[in-house]
Symmetry: C2
Subunit: 326 residues, 2 copies
């Protein structure tokens, strides 16, 4: 799945075991890793048990083995949890002061060469590593929930992180079945959450101004572009929209709309020929091996499959297959 | 699928037969409607034939009958195409002057009570109907491609559109198997494309600034939140992210991040208690019948199904099931 070499670990710690931490632990356990868990809440183990149950059911359905799991233990302290592990995933609450305190506890107890991944969705690694003793081994490893099923993890280094440790982190994530994407420029919110934030802001406006309800917005997503995005992203979808002219044609048609009135809500990058070249050539690298017709056929096959799944599960758009015929 | 009563039509016109128009025609034909097509390009029929072939293959795969199709004919003029139809779908190029000229041709030839739907993704219906003789029957009917598979169509009236005609348009769209969503407030780009534009602007920045390539952005979408959005939208997904506390808890946690530095790129609505109440109560209406645990199980079942589909089709994330286990 990933271009990086997998690194198989045996012992890891999950520090912070809410919904995200528990899903990390579940993924690790189902990949045979022993996991030590630290969380100040008494309900942490209960959350883990419930999330792990969901994860096991999903892996069973996928036909993946679930019988050779790692074991977990609830540690009495962060220091005890991280004492002899090769990797630590930190999923503490999203406040810089809490992250700093937890990272200090981790460093006080962990082997000096253990990689530390942070689940933060918005705090720059350079900010988090400012007070660390060994900041070179901290990366952001930002997942998408449910972590045990969605493969992507954004890997971001701070100014003190070594490239070697970024590669090690990528290898460790690949070793538990993930697709690590190295985000090479350190920006607030990284890539995925920047995209989500942009959509979220727009959705807030729409609800606030009474244009649509939460359900109507969700219906438009799930019965519209959401079905596209489970298989092709923004750029590959628009490449198809360009028809035989592909991405460059699409950019020619759609790009100028950036200057329309509704773009006033945000600055946009200057729509220069250089930017068009950059996007069109990256799109060629990405999808040029397939013709637009091939991409259309694959898209339709995938959509048909998704609609069948949704109908079989009696869920949302899936109830619509029969209705496609009047 | 839809809450509106279906209206079954027998004869429709498709004016403008590029990729979108051809997909409209395909959906109509496969729902037994006779379609007259008008397009100034000589390649229009060839595009229709190719798109219809894709649509037939998809409906076959879905187990829907494809043998009782309507018939199509290529008309010599707009006036001839629309002469005796009950419904016209206009998919001309996205320029206000072209739209105005095409609408004038449609009105010159069509029955006075025929409903006209426009595929425009950005032009307000009030703008388009300004010069019309019978503006009360114009609606925007904005689809998502592939129109023959994605059910959603945004229905938007202008200041001269009657509510009766909006209901008739919804009924006609429902009659060809679609899920019409009435966007009650007329704004530029409606709902879906506003959301897409927001994401697109952000993605342009990311490519422009070298943060990520088109492929990396697409990978983060398809292997991350894209898989979520084929089945649950933004709000239902975040309701789950709120855990047992649901939407209100999520809003408490995530809302304040709107004030973080990376929100500087756009104005945001004031994050008032009233807005929180509005969203939380709409979310209860939308999803309150299911517990968070039930929603999680449904989500996982759907995701498992999607991953199986993608693997069976040897496409993208679908190749990753085996990799979920190291």
């Amino acid at each position: 799945m990933s271009d990086v070499d997998k690194i198989m670990i045996e012992r890891a710690a999950v520090v912070g075991c809410g919904v995200i931490g528990a899903a990390w632990a579940s993924r690790m356990l189902l990949n045979g890793v022993d996991v030590a868990i630290s969380d100040p809440s008494r309900s942490a183990e209960q959350i883990l048990i419930e999330v792990l149950e969901n994860a096991v059911a999903a892996y069973d359905d996928l036909g993946l083995p679930t019988d050779q799991r790692g074991s977990y233990r609830i540690a009495d302290s962060v220091a005890e949890a991280v004492a002899d592990v090769q990797f630590i995933q930190e999923s503490a609450p999203e406040r810089p002061d809490i992250k700093a305190a937890v990272l200090a506890e981790i460093e006080a107890g962990a082997p000096v060469d253990a990689i530390i991944g942070s689940s933060t969705s918005g705090i720059k690694p350079s900010v988090m590593q400012a007070e660390m003793t060994n900041p070179e081994r901290l990366v952001v490893g930002h997942p998408f929930n449910p972590v045990y099923l969605l493969p992507v993890v954004e890997v971001v280094g701070g100014e003190h992180t070594t490239i070697e440790n970024i590669r090690r982190a990528q290898g460790i994530y690949a070793g538990i079945g993930m697709k690590p994407i190295h985000v090479r420029v350190e920006i607030d919110a990284f890539v995925g959450d920047r995209l989500l934030e942009a959509l979220w802001r727009e959705a807030l406006w729409l609800v606030n101004d009474g244009v649509a309800t939460t359900k109507e917005i969700d219906d438009i997503i799930t019965h519209g572009f959401g079905l596209r995005w489970a298989q092709m992203g923004l750029f590959e979808t628009y490449r198809i929209a360009g028809g035989m002219g592909g991405m460059r044609h699409f950019l020619g048609q759609f790009g100028p709309t950036l200057d329309w009135p509704y773009s006033k809500l945000m600055d946009t990058p200057d729509y220069t020929p250089e930017l068009v070249d950059k996007i069109a050539s990256q799109s060629d690298d990405q999808s040029g091996a397939h013709s637009i017709r091939e991409l259309e056929r694959m898209r339709d096959q995938n959509l048909v499959g998704f609609l069948k799944v949704l109908e079989a599960n009696q869920w949302g758009a899936g109830t619509t297959i029969a209705d496609q015929r009047s």
